[in-house]
């Protein structure tokens, strides 16, 4: 069965520090992987995606993600966190089935 897992319900990081939000996947074939962000009282917004090519993909608001085939991971990263990055982050796979992870709440502390 295909799946997307986000092992951490919440991640806390100090402002200015690097952040990582983890995602692992289990999909057949070439994976189409995405990160979406959900701010309070706002709809889900696209951040970035991996379809093919370079394993490091860059997206909106300074976020990037690294696709690792051997570890079946697609972790979201940012070199320096901002308080305004505090939100709910979802990993998503669009390969054959449309599957969201359970979400990770990111809290950036001033």
């Amino acid at each position: 069965a295909q799946s997307v897992a986000q092992p951490e319900d919440q991640v806390n990081v100090a402002e200015g520090n690097p952040l990582t939000v983890k995602c692992t996947y289990s999909v057949s074939g070439n994976p189409y992987l995405f990160w979406y962000v959900q701010y309070p009282n706002r709809g889900l917004q696209f951040l970035l995606k991996y379809i093919t090519g370079d394993n490091l993909v860059k997206g909106s608001y300074g976020f990037e993600a690294e696709f690792n085939k051997s570890q079946t991971s697609f972790h979201l990263k940012k070199p320096s966190a901002l308080v305004s990055d505090s939100a709910l982050y979802f990993c998503y796979s669009g390969t054959y089935k449309y599957i969201f992870g359970t979400g990770t709440r990111l809290k950036v502390l001033a």
Binding site: F34, G43, G94, F100
Partner: protein, 115 residues
């Protein structure tokens, strides 16, 4: 409009009532998705349209759920004989292309509460 819109934003129904939720996708977007998001959970796929064709309805939880997109634009998700477990936020998303590789644009959702 500039984005995906959904109406109503909030809906309260008594158990057993029928409800209809509307989605207006971005103009020209071929693909349209419906998701159900329970409190504290990630969105779960319900159904997918390519233009007016419903290509995947594998996520609809029961035959009380029905979706349509008759002219390949506006879509309606209908829930018959609502139950308390149907309480959730229902999200609509559209994308320009037909591939699962295309990013989706989400509406604000309809919060359904079944009493």
């Amino acid at each position: 409009g500039a984005g995906v819109s959904q109406s109503p934003r909030y809906k309260v129904a008594k158990r057993g009532q029928d409800v209809a939720l509307r989605c207006d996708p971005i103009s020209g977007h071929v693909s349209l998705f419906w998701y159900q998001q329970a409190l504290g959970q990630g969105p779960e796929f319900l159904t997918y349209f390519q233009n007016e064709a419903q290509l995947d309805k594998s996520g609809l939880p029961s035959d009380r759920f029905f979706a349509e997109r008759p002219e390949g634009s506006v879509s309606t998700l209908k829930i018959q004989r609502t139950q308390q477990e149907d309480s959730a936020v229902y999200l609509c998303a559209s994308s320009f292309q037909t591939s699962g590789a295309d990013e989706q644009f989400f509406g604000p959702g309809t919060r359904l509460t079944v009493l």
